[in-house]
Symmetry: none
Subunit: 539 residues, 2 copies
Amino acid sequence: MSRERLYLFDTTLRDGQQTPGIDFSAEDKAMIARMLDDLGIDYVEGGYPGANPADTSFFREKRTKRAAFTAFGMTKRAGRSVENDPGVQMLLQAEADAICFVAKAWDYHVRVALGCTDEENLDGVRQTIEAAVAHGRIAMLDCEHFFDGYKANRDYALAVARTALEAGARWVVLCDTNGGTLPHEIDAIVRDVASVVPGERLGIHAHNDTGQAIANSLAAVRAGARQIQGTLNGIGERCGNADLVTLIPTLMLKPLYRDAFEIGVTEEGLRGLTHLSRAFDEMLNRAPNRQQPYVGSSAFATKAGIHASALLKEPETYEHVPPEAVGNRRRVLVSDQAGKSNLVAELERFGIDFDRRDPRLDGLLSEIKQREAQGYAYEGADASLELLARRRLGSVPTFFRVEAFRVNIERRYDAHGELKTFSEAVVKVNVGGDIRMSVAEGSNGPVNALDLALRKDMGELNAYIDDLELVDFKVRILNGGTEAITRVLIESRDGQGNRWLTVGVSPNIIDASFEAMLDAVNYKLLKAGAADGLAVAAE
Amino acid sequence: MSRERLYLFDTTLRDGQQTPGIDFSAEDKAMIARMLDDLGIDYVEGGYPGANPADTSFFREKRTKRAAFTAFGMTKRAGRSVENDPGVQMLLQAEADAICFVAKAWDYHVRVALGCTDEENLDGVRQTIEAAVAHGRIAMLDCEHFFDGYKANRDYALAVARTALEAGARWVVLCDTNGGTLPHEIDAIVRDVASVVPGERLGIHAHNDTGQAIANSLAAVRAGARQIQGTLNGIGERCGNADLVTLIPTLMLKPLYRDAFEIGVTEEGLRGLTHLSRAFDEMLNRAPNRQQPYVGSSAFATKAGIHASALLKEPETYEHVPPEAVGNRRRVLVSDQAGKSNLVAELERFGIDFDRRDPRLDGLLSEIKQREAQGYAYEGADASLELLARRRLGSVPTFFRVEAFRVNIERRYDAHGELKTFSEAVVKVNVGGDIRMSVAEGSNGPVNALDLALRKDMGELNAYIDDLELVDFKVRILNGGTEAITRVLIESRDGQGNRWLTVGVSPNIIDASFEAMLDAVNYKLLKAGAADGLAVAAE
């Protein structure tokens, strides 16, 4: 039975960037684009070149391999030609495979917001799309406020859609810009539009203002649309966009969609979805939503209640999909099985040799659970997890041991009567039996001072870690207030461009940072193959 | 035009109690029941008397005035009479107006989970409902796994529903127990069931496992159902139940529902919804979901982007409902693209008097942009923005001045040969001319030590800040690597439950934390009306 192709368009880096409190660094954006590309998203929207320097420079190079790297921007202004519209020119020059233009589809906004005539707006759409096509770009049009516009003036809304189509747009995307449209309205309107724009060129862009972004997206697909726009974990302006992390499993696992449609995500990609979703939240430095459909840590959790025992008897009749299909796991008090098979998969991923019957496996599992209860989050810190596992199962050399450290931060008026803050760290480290004491001042504060002092003199080990660089660190306070626990995630990089994440947990932010720092150094030494000979007697 | 009555059933205290990590105290339950009663919910389910002592004692008295106080439990077991079934007897003795019984509607589960015959299960339903009615209770039946059961054996699922109806059940509730049913399936199945059970006696109980609990509930209503079961903020087992806080505004504000249906919530109650939702999260001691539809702090927030300026011109066309209707408010976030109009909107929100032609306004705007270029993020830190604005435009007293501080973090082996880390801070503060020096040790590290030392002795100011509490702080490293800048966001809370966010930026994490801390304290002093008299001469 042949299935129709359904296309996924991700706007995490554009609409998602509009989320209050979210601000991607250039490194974040590059990493997110890679994640989406690997996942199998068809269109990855990278931002709005020309709107700000960051987005402009992000489009100096193509950021995806398989996905169409897509730029976002406005159609040309009225009263000027495409050639003389700097905004449009900026978009045409961007290193993008596709350009998603946005245009008003509500005649009222054309007058109020643009102050031009309905016809000028249509001309803008036509000429801009044609220019993009002429430049060899895949062109698409986001019809802003399409559904409100349709209700106010059906003919004009349809005229905007038709104009884009006739100008050569690959996709005409119907945007529920203020998120207020309800599923049955989406259904009726999309069916009507499909009589003008064939479904295989229709897209839907839904927001969650009534908690129905998912339902609206699926209603549009049932009505004929074949492109869905959304974001990772549903981030986005106001209440967010349609959550691709929820849509993908629904499309791939629910028979009605699975049997009718094909998307670019593989079953392996689907199994990686839980990890991807949580890694993304770590990048945003926020706690994952435990109740998030499919991937939340509670999504398949059952409290010992009326369901738990029956669940253990007949899981498949109590779970609407198998948790493993999305890389999640069942959580019922007592049952460890899911946990163990998860761990086994991780160890294989690390390439660690082990015997499934090795009792140390259970020891490792319970230690991980114990540590996660303390606040460690290994989802986002593979390197720390690998070190922990190798220490338990194999043996990781004790390359060095820190005997003591001291950090001093002082703010005082300097000689010129200005308030200045000084950070100094002293570290006493034991390398191969020699005690080495180093002191350093941190231009970036205490963690920087500690990092410098620690690596200043590690004797023969320095050769292995000279190219190690701390590229990012994130701090989260768990159960705030007085019992606050601090979790620090450190991202490190070396000369070969390897990146790895380590985690530290402590009530003390300096301790937590130092623990993650030590893991980062030890991981590098391990991968660099620093020899046992350097080690002191294992503790 | 006469509207049909639609009934709301809240299960926060029963299904909501199944949420991993949520455990209500007796006081919590009583307060939640009152909140729901005042809101205008028709049925407030208080729990499962007989399942545990807490629920049993909760039903020793009626907890609602207007709402029907409802007990939850199972229908009688096979092989014994209602009189000899302790569970059912416990329910009949509970101080409840209504009893919601749960029964299997899937013949497969009748065999596997109950181990009785289909007919015995039907008998149990009939006799239990009849007994409840005979005891003068409003009786209703939750048909567990109804939709899966219907797909597996339509006739039996319908037989269970019909049996309850004929036995005198006021409501037959169709439960999507594992949450996997999709809206169009709900629509088709409920329409079919409505041919057996009249819609005015049909209810829907939806879960959010595909992110469509709201859509499923509304689909059922459109198909004929007239009772919706849900919870506050959508708490509940796994991914949660249908969120009544999202459903209520949709039913009251969206024309299609508003014109067709009437619910027990008044417009005044609706205006209190944002407060109720956040107060409930306070009770759960968790941060409210900023992206929650209608009531989230971001639900009507727009970053200065392509929409902001137009939004200010024509809010009603950019907002699907008026924020005030649910007690929420519009927020146009100042961010690096901020224009003067956004700033003006913010200042008005702060209640700051100013003259639009005041040149200091431009000074303030350029200072904000300059600071945001340095890494400050005011969109997430209202309190710091308000302080900055008031300092520029009006005058904020200099309540105190920190002359110097010193923080010492030391890790060393203690007397028992264990590696321990000690954090100590010394702060020299000038209050009203007196220099006060305080020292404190931080059980939670250096920031904690600084916080304690700073507030330890501020003289007469202490009276204003005794109830100040640091509830969360977030750290973000901007442009990582060696030029790293640290941004710290601190969330504070006081005794009246006010929460405010402040920001600090510095290459030094301790400096950044301290700056945000100072803003938090100054903001509290400002709001508490600490007098000028305490101030030293303004700098």
